[in-house]
C-alpha cells in the first residue's frame, strides 16, 4: 500500500460529493413545496358528492363492516324530499373515522356500493389530542361548488328514489 493511497481514496470520495452537488436535488422543500402523490396513493378519506351536490354516501355501514381496524362509525337516518341528503331512502346522519385507528388499507373504498368514500391525496394528518383525530362527516365531506347544492336541501318529490346507482367496474 502506497503513501498516497489514503489521499486517493479521499479524492475519490470528494469526487462523488462534487458530482452529486451538481445533480438536481431530490429534497422537497416541504411544506412550501409538496410532493405529488401516485395515482393509487391512499391518503385521508373524502366523502364524495354527485354532480348535483347530493351526497353519495347512503349510510349503509359496509365500510365500517369492512374496516379491519374498526375505525369507522356510521349511523343512518331517513331522507325525505323536504330534507334530502342523498338519493334514495337512507343517508348517513353520523359518519366518523378515527384517523389514529385507520391503517389506510382502502378496504372501505372497495366495500362502498356507491363509490362515496375515496382515499384522497391528503396525507397531512396531525393532531394535538386524540379527540381531534376523529373526523366527522362535515370534515370528510367534499365541499360543494355552490350554495344551492348544499345538503340537506328540498328537492322535487319522486325524483331521487334509488340509493344505489348503476355502477361500472372500478377504474384507477
Amino acid at each position: 500500500m502506497g503513501v498516497f493511497d489514503p489521499l486517493l481514496e479521499l479524492l475519490r470520495g470528494l469526487g462523488t460529493t462534487f458530482k452529486m452537488a451538481l445533480d438536481k436535488p431530490v429534497t422537497y422543500q416541504y411544506p412550501e413545496e409538496k410532493r405529488p402523490v401516485r395515482p393509487r396513493f391512499r391518503g385521508r378519506h373524502v366523502l364524495k358528492r354527485y354532480e348535483n351536490g347530493l351526497e353519495k354516501c347512503i349510510g349503509c355501514s359496509l365500510c365500517a363492516a369492512a374496516c379491519p381496524a374498526d375505525a369507522i362509525f356510521v349511523e343512518a337516518s331517513e331522507n325525505t324530499d323536504e330534507k334530502r341528503f342523498s338519493p334514495g331512502e337512507r343517508y348517513a346522519s353520523t359518519y366518523e373515522i378515527n384517523m389514529l385507528r385507520c391503517i389506510y388499507c382502502g378496504f372501505c373504498e372497495d366495500a362502498c356500493p356507491t363509490e362515496a368514500i375515496v382515499l384522497g391525496d391528503n396525507y397531512e394528518l396531525s393532531f394535538y389530542d386524540r379527540r381531534s383525530a376523529i373526523y366527522t362527516k362535515e370534515m370528510l365531506l367534499e365541499p360543494v361548488p355552490s350554495v344551492e347544492m348544499t345538503t340537506p336541501r328540498k328537492v322535487e318529490p319522486g325524483v331521487f328514489t334509488r340509493s344505489v346507482p348503476e355502477m361500472k367496474d372500478p377504474q384507477d
Partner: protein, 815 residues
C-alpha cells in the same frame, strides 16, 4: 308416537315421523334444502320453487304391493322432473338428491328468476346481513344473471302498511309467508295479494292499516327486506348489534325476547336498545311475540328516567345521596310500626318482591300488590302444574277462558290456545261479550255481567258443555277481569278453583287455574304472599306508604287524594311519574334492561332476564334498594347478588322449592331450528341459549291438602234510570306508564273511550266518535264514544288505564 319412516337424503339414512315434509326431514338430518316460502310453522304452499330436488320412490309390484328388488336393493324410480321438497311428504324408502346436477341447476334457475325484479339495494335494506335471499343467493345462486338490469319491474318502495310495518314492494318475492302467518297463525287476515304476475303486491285491507297485534312477526319471517318495522327503520345493520336474552315485561305470558343493543351517537354515545326480537321457547311463545312486546320498550330509556335519589325539602324534591334517602325512608318506616304499607307492582322481579315482602314481615307492615284482579292465592294452590304447555294440549284437553279477552290481554296465549283448539282441544269461551277467541271455540257461553260465578259453576252440570268439560282428560281454566273488579275476580277465581278441584283437574300437567293478570310478575307476587286490597284509598290514609313500581296517583284521583293524606310516601320507580311528584323520598330503580332477575309468568314459569344496557345514572336494582332501607332499620336482607336472593327465596317459598338460579338457564334442543346461520328456515327469531325457565309446583301437585275458600260474590251494581252499567275492560295498548313513552304506538292507543251498543247510543242520543262526559263514583271525565254490536244493550265498556279510573263495575252517567 307417530309411525316412523326411513328415507335416504343425499346418501344419508334419515328416520322421521310419518307425514314430515322432505324439507323438514332434511333439516332434522342436518342437510340444508334452501327454501323461501316454506316455514316449519306454516302449511306448505310450494310457491317459490326454491326447494327443487330430485325425488325417487321405490317401485312397488302392482300385484303384491312389495318393493321391486334390483341388485339386492329396492328399485328406485326418479320422477322425470324436479319436485318441491316442501310439499312432498316422506315415504318409506324414498331417495332424495338435493345436490345433484339437475337439482343444483333448478335451484340456480329459481334464484336467477327471483332476482329479475329484486332491486338489489341490500346496502340500504334493514334485512341486509340477516337476509335469506342474500344468503341463499350466495350459496345457491348462479352468480350472474342473463337478465338486463334495465328491465327490472319498478314498484313503490316506501309503503307503510300500517304505522308499524313498512313494505318495499320491489323487494317482495311473493312467498306469502306474511299472508299465511296472518291467516293461519294470527287469525287476522288483514293483508293479501293484489294484482297479478310481476305486478303482484302485498296490500293491507284493514283500517287502521295492518290491524293485527302480531304484525311484527311478519318482519321476522319475511325472507327478504320487503317487510320491516318502522321502529327499527335504518336503526343499525344487524351485524353491528349485540344480543342479550331478556323476558318481556308487558303481560303475564312472559315471552322470551332478545334485546339488540348498540352504542349510538344520536343517544349521546350511550348503549341503547335498538329492537326487541323474539327468542325461541316452544313452551312459552314459540317463535312469536306481540307488537306490544316488540315496540313498547322505549320507557326504559326516555328522558323521564329517574337518575338520582331525591328527598322532599321545604316542599321541593332535591337531590340526595343514597345513604340519606334510604335512611330517611327507613326512619319513617320504623316510626310507622303497624301503619307501614308496601304497594308493589307486578312489574318487579321475584327477588324484588321477595325482599319487599320480607321487609313488610320484619317491620310488621302490610304488603299489597297493585292489581285490579284478585284470587291469586288460588293459583298457588291449584295453579297449573309442572310440565304444563299450551303447545302440548290437543284432543282430550278442555281449555276454558272466562271473563278475559285474551287477544287484548295476553296475545301470545290467544295465539297458542287458538292452535290448541285447531289440534282438537275443546275450547270453551265464556264472556259477557264477543271476543276474538270466540271464532275458535267449541262452545261459547254468554252470561250477563254479574253472573260469572254462576256460569262457571254451571260447567259441572249435565249438558252438552258440562259433559265435554267433565269428560275431558285435562282441563285448564284461564280467568280474567273482563268486566270485573278485585272482589268479582276473586269470587270468579274461587268458583273456577272449586270446579277444577272437585273434578280432579289439579296437580297434573295441563291441569289447573291460570290468572290472566295485568302485569308480568303478578303471579310471582301471589306466590310470595302479597295480597290485593280492594280499597287502597282507605289503606293509604294516614299510613306510611312505600310504593315500588306503581303509579296510583296517575291512575286514580281518589288514590292521589288518599296519598296526600298519607303520613309519609317513599316511591321507587324507573321513571318520573305522577306518584314520584308527590313523594317524600324518590328512589331511582333500574329498568329490566339494565339488570338481571327472574319473573314468574302466568303459567307459573320462572324465567331469567339478563342485563343488556349500562345503568342509567345512580339507579339501583329494586331488591338492592329495599335491602339498603332494611339495613338502616336493622333488618338484614340480601342486597348484592340476585342469585343469592333467589337462593333464599327458593329456600323460603314452598312453590319455588328445588329451583336454582342455574337451572333456570338450562336449555333443551327445540324444533324448529331457528336463529343459526340458516335464517332462511325459521326466520330471524333468536335461538334460545340462555334458558327456558322452570315451572313452579302447585300445592295440589305437591300432594298437599287443598281447601278452596268460598268467596261471596259481590252484589251486582244496579244502574238507576238514565244510568248505564259500566264495566272495566283491558286494552292491549293503553295509557300505562310503560307504554305511553313509545310514541310509535300512540295512534293505536288513542284517547279515552266509552264503548256502547248502537242501540244504547241511540237512546242516549250520541254518535260514534262524539265526545261525551262520563261520571261515576265521583269520577268525571271526557271520553269518545265507540260503537260495537258485540256487547249488550245498556252496558258501557270503559278500558282501564285510559284516563277514566274504573276499578269495578259501576253505574255510570253518560251525557
Amino acid at each position: 308416537m307417530a309411525k316412523q319412516v326411513t328415507l335416504t337424503i343425499d346418501g344419508k339414512q334419515v328416520t322421521v315421523p310419518e307425514g314430515t315434509l322432505v324439507a323438514d326431514a332434511a333439516k332434522m338430518a342436518g342437510i340444508d334444502i334452501p327454501v323461501f316460502c316454506h316455514h316449519p310453522k306454516l302449511e306448505p304452499v310450494g310457491m317459490c320453487r326454491m326447494c327443487l330436488v330430485e325425488i325417487g320412490r321405490p317401485v312397488r309390484d302392482r300385484a303384491t304391493g312389495q318393493f321391486v328388488m334390483e341388485n339386492g336393493a329396492p328399485k328406485i324410480q326418479f320422477m322425470p322432473k324436479l319436485e318441491t321438497a316442501c310439499t312432498n311428504k316422506v315415504e318409506e324408502g324414498m331417495v332424495v338428491l338435493t345436490r345433484s346436477q339437475k337439482a343444483v341447476e333448478g335451484q340456480k334457475g329459481t334464484i336467477e328468476f327471483l332476482l329479475t325484479s329484486h332491486p338489489l339495494d341490500c346496502p340500504i335494506c334493514d334485512k341486509g346481513g340477516e337476509c335469506p335471499l342474500q344468503n341463499l343467493t350466495v350459496a345457491y345462486g348462479p352468480g350472474k344473471s342473463r337478465f338486463l338490469y334495465d328491465e327490472k319491474m319498478h314498484l313503490d318502495k316506501q309503503v307503510p302498511l300500517g304505522e308499524l310495518i313498512w313494505l318495499d314492494r320491489e323487494r317482495c318475492i311473493q312467498c306469502a309467508r306474511c299472508i299465511r302467518f296472518q291467516n293461519e297463525i294470527a287469525g287476522d287476515p288483514v293483508i293479501g295479494f293484489d294484482e297479478r304476475g310481476r305486478a303482484t303486491q302485498i296490500v293491507s285491507f284493514s283500517d287502521p292499516g295492518f290491524d293485527s297485534v302480531f304484525s311484527g312477526n311478519t318482519t321476522d319471517i319475511c325472507p327478504v327486506g320487503a317487510l320491516t318495522t318502522s321502529d327499527f327503520r335504518f336503526g343499525a345493520r344487524p351485524w353491528e348489534l349485540q344480543a342479550h336474552a331478556s323476558i318481556c315485561t308487558q303481560c303475564p305470558v312472559g315471552c322470551n325476547t332478545t334485546l339488540n343493543t348498540r352504542r349510538e351517537a344520536k343517544s349521546g354515545g350511550r348503549i341503547v336498545v335498538k329492537r326487541v326480537m323474539p327468542r325461541q321457547n316452544e313452551d312459552v311463545n314459540e317463535i312469536w311475540i306481540c307488537d306490544k312486546g316488540r315496540f313498547a320498550y322505549h320507557y326504559t330509556e326516555g328522558k323521564q328516567r329517574l337518575t338520582r335519589p331525591m328527598i322532599r325539602k321545604d316542599g321541593k324534591l332535591t337531590r340526595a345521596s343514597w345513604d340519606a334517602a334510604t335512611k330517611l325512608a327507613a326512619e319513617n318506616f320504623q316510626k310507622a310500626k303497624k301503619n307501614f304499607v308496601i304497594l308493589a307492582s307486578g312489574r318487579l322481579s321475584n327477588e324484588d318482591l321477595f325482599n319487599l315482602k320480607s321487609l313488610a314481615e320484619h317491620a310488621d307492615g302490610k304488603a299489597y300488590i297493585y292489581s285490579h284482579m284478585g284470587g291469586g292465592e288460588l293459583t298457588s294452590l291449584v295453579g297449573v302444574g309442572e310440565g304444563t304447555n299450551f303447545g302440548s294440549m290437543g284432543a282430550g284437553t278442555t281449555i276454558v277462558v272466562v271473563a278475559s279477552d285474551l287477544y287484548e290481554e295476553a296475545p301470545v296465549w290467544y295465539l297458542r290456545i287458538k292452535q290448541a283448539a285447531a289440534r282438537g282441544a275443546n275450547l270453551i269461551v265464556m264472556n259477557a261479550r264477543e271476543t276474538k277467541l270466540d271464532r275458535y271455540a267449541s262452545f261459547t257461553v254468554r252470561y250477563a255481567y254479574g253472573d260469572e260465578v254462576k256460569a262457571v259453576s254451571d260447567l259441572a252440570k249435565k249438558g252438552k258443555i258440562g259433559d265435554t268439560f267433565l269428560k275431558s282428560e285435562n282441563a285448564v281454566i284461564l280467568y280474567g277481569s273482563d268486566g270485573l273488579g278485585v272482589s268479582g275476580s276473586a269470587a270468579l277465581a274461587s268458583a273456577c278453583a272449586k270446579l277444577l278441584h272437585d273434578n280432579g283437574f289439579t296437580g297434573r300437567p295441563n291441569n289447573g287455574l291460570i290468572g290472566v293478570w295485568g302485569r308480568a310478575n303478578d303471579q310471582g307476587a301471589w306466590e310470595m304472599g302479597f295480597e290485593v286490597e280492594e280499597d287502597l284509598a282507605k289503606a293509604f290514609k294516614g299510613k306510611t306508604v312505600y310504593i315500588a313500581g306503581a303509579d296510583p296517583v296517575a291512575d286514580d284521583p281518589k288514590l292521589a287524594k288518599a296519598l296526600e293524606g298519607a303520613e309519609f310516601v317513599a316511591v321507587q320507580d324507573v321513571m318520573t311519574t305522577a306518584t314520584t311528584e308527590i313523594a317524600d323520598v324518590v328512589l331511582p330503580a333500574q329498568a329490566f334492561t339494565e339488570r338481571e332477575g327472574t319473573l314468574t309468568s302466568g303459567e307459573r314459569r320462572v324465567q331469567r332476564f339478563y342485563p343488556a344496557v349500562p345503568v342509567t345514572g345512580e339507579a339501583k336494582a329494586d331488591f338492592a334498594i329495599t335491602s339498603q332501607i332494611a339495613r338502616h332499620m336493622g333488618i338484614v336482607l340480601e342486597g348484592t347478588s340476585v342469585s343469592a336472593v333467589f337462593d333464599i327465596l327458593a329456600a323460603s317459598v314452598k312453590s319455588f322449592e328445588g329451583l336454582t338460579y342455574a337451572r333456570l338457564a338450562e336449555v333443551r334442543p327445540q324444533w324448529p331450528i331457528v336463529g343459526r346461520s340458516d335464517l332462511y328456515y325459521g326466520g330471524t327469531t333468536y335461538e334460545n341459549t340462555q334458558g327456558m325457565g322452570a315451572q313452579l309446583s302447585a300445592a295440589a301437585g305437591r300432594g298437599e291438602k287443598v281447601s278452596i275458600p268460598k268467596v261471596e260474590k259481590e252484589a251486582l251494581v244496579r244502574p238507576k234510570e238514565k244510568e248505564l252499567l259500566a264495566v272495566p275492560v283491558t286494552k292491549l295498548y293503553d295509557r300505562g306508564t310503560t307504554i305511553l313513552p313509545s310514541e310509535l304506538l300512540h295512534e293505536r292507543i288513542g284517547e279515552a273511550k266509552v264503548i256502547l251498543h248502537p242501540e244504547t247510543a241511540k237512546s242516549l242520543g250520541v254518535e260514534e266518535d262524539q265526545k261525551v262526559s262520563v261520571s261515576f263514583n265521583g269520577v268525571n271525565g271526557e271520553a269518545a264514544v265507540k260503537l260495537t254490536d258485540t256487547i249488550s244493550v245498556g252496558v258501557a265498556l270503559i278500558p282501564r288505564s285510559m284516563g277514566l279510573a274504573i276499578r269495578e263495575p259501576v253505574a255510570v252517567k253518560v251525557k
